[in-house]
Amino acid sequence: MCGAIRDELRDGLLEAERAYRAAGLSGERAAAAAVADFGEPGTVAAAFAPELAARDARRVALALLRTGPLIGLMWGLAALASGMAVGHAPPWRWPVPGIHLAFPLIAAAIATSGIAGALTIAATGRLGARRHLTRRPARLASTAATTIAASALTCDLALLALLITSAATASGSRAWLPATVAATASLTRLALAARAGRRLVATRARLR
């Protein structure tokens, strides 16, 4: 739960306690009454769950969608700096079976991310918030954001596989600095996407 929500709930509880004191209750009884009015922790947590899930899904989706072009640019620069486009055999001619599939896999992951991103933004925006059955948009957003995390994992793993294959099989020199920067960025995003994906799956499971 973020600090702003904690501050707001704290203010509400203290206001309720103040109102009970003003009505004549002692400090301890006023505090107990305010806490009782607030509701059972499980009830309050369940009420907050869709809203928090929607926020988390939107945050994860936007972060991954924003880093996508940046990481793509890093890999593109690394490929250009290595002269891959002109000086080396293209990846589909590398002597590793199936490595050429990395490119359609990356394209499919990018397209999937785009669709899932649009769904996440719609479900967590004004449209999703106006629905009375609030758990459905939150579940949809969690699923769509998890799909984006899986697509990011796919892209990063495919790019890293291409780099490793290129280093092991293709001839010629490598521009190791830009390749290392791109690989580090992909590894970092891979770790963050995996963690966010696990969290989103757990959150979705709690949205009954």
């Binding site: 704290r10 203010d11 309720a16 309050v44 907050f48």
Partner: protein
């Protein structure tokens, strides 16, 4: 006998009730909860902790807006209706009146058409 309205009874109407409490001006979270309780003579007595997520959702929907201030050394979030919220409240109110009039008319004792 007093019947307290539970969350299930209010499902689908809570948004409109929250918007209505803000029609006369901005209020902070507890003031909204207190207004609901007082104006309904205590019949609407939901766990106050469950009102906040509904307010956050209404803000995300663009129907209310919030601002932070400091009161008695505490951070306080105050909500107010947006123009879209005012329109939504008007629409909800009209829909409720129509629904309520229809159900009330049907529930009154009356001679019903005979079955064939």
């Amino acid at each position: 006998m007093t019947t307290y309205m539970q969350a299930d009874t209010l499902k689908g109407h809570l948004d409109a009730l929250l918007l209505a409490t803000l029609e006369s001006g901005p209020r902070h979270g507890y003031a909204i909860i207190d207004a609901l309780k007082s104006a309904s003579d205590g019949q609407i007595d939901l766990p106050s902790g469950t009102i906040y997520p509904a307010l956050h959702r209404l803000e995300r929907a663009g129907l209310i807006a919030s601002s932070w201030s400091t009161s008695s050394g505490r951070r306080r979030r105050t909500y107010e209706l947006t123009a879209a919220g005012r329109r939504a409240l008007g629409a909800e109110r009209a829909a409720w009146r129509e629904f309520s009039d229809t159900v009330t008319a049907l529930l009154e004792p009356r001679p019903w058409p005979a079955t064939a």
